[in-house]
Amino acid sequence: MQLAFSSISGNESFARATVAAFAAKLDPTVEELEDIKTAVSEAVTNAIIHGYNRQSGFVYIEATIDSDGIEIIIRDEGCGIQNVDEAKEATYTSRPDLERSGMGFTIMEHLMDEMEVLSVLDKGTQIKMRKKIKKTAPTN
């Protein structure tokens, strides 16, 4: 599925829940779903506050379910990231004034099984994440 919405912070929770509702087809546990929601939140918030610097723009989400889990792509057409390696460092933030932690990328990497950042200055940023969801029910 594909979702596009304007970069107002009121849409952040809607977007996160929509991806979660789509992921529900895989019948995840509440915990797995929380991981996905948190990762999506971090990426969408980044698109809104960093990518678009709170100006108006569109955020695009693409989610695909396959045999072993879900792939989620979150994309903005904002300012892009100059140095992706630096941005991914656990404490790096370009906006210490916003009292954010700089932990966004670290959280995404930790909660998902794969994360890939693609960014072009003045073109935008794309985060591709995968999470495996076990299909089989646990034994108990």
Partner: protein
């Protein structure tokens, strides 16, 4: 009070914010109760089945648990 509640429930004129709040409380209860009986985190479908709603409704109700009170609730409750 039971009668009045049933009336309010049946006429559909209650606001969605309130109905979502009720569902999210039920989801929270079902989640706690299933965690205990299954000794693991429940699956979304298990909560949905317990409450007789769709998995998507469970997901959006879980989200509502996290939402700050809406202006409507602050002003009118």
């Amino acid at each position: 009070i039971g009668e009045i509640q049933r009336f309010i429930r049946d006429d559909g004129s209650i606001k969605v914010s309130r109905s979502i709040k009720e569902l999210s409380q039920k989801v929270k209860k079902a989640r706690d109760h299933l965690s205990k009986t299954l000794s693991r985190t429940p699956k979304i479908s298990e909560i949905a089945e317990e409450l007789g709603v769709t998995s998507e409704e469970v997901v959006f109700a879980l989200e509502a648990n996290k939402q700050p009170k809406s202006i409507y609730e602050t002003v009118f409750e």
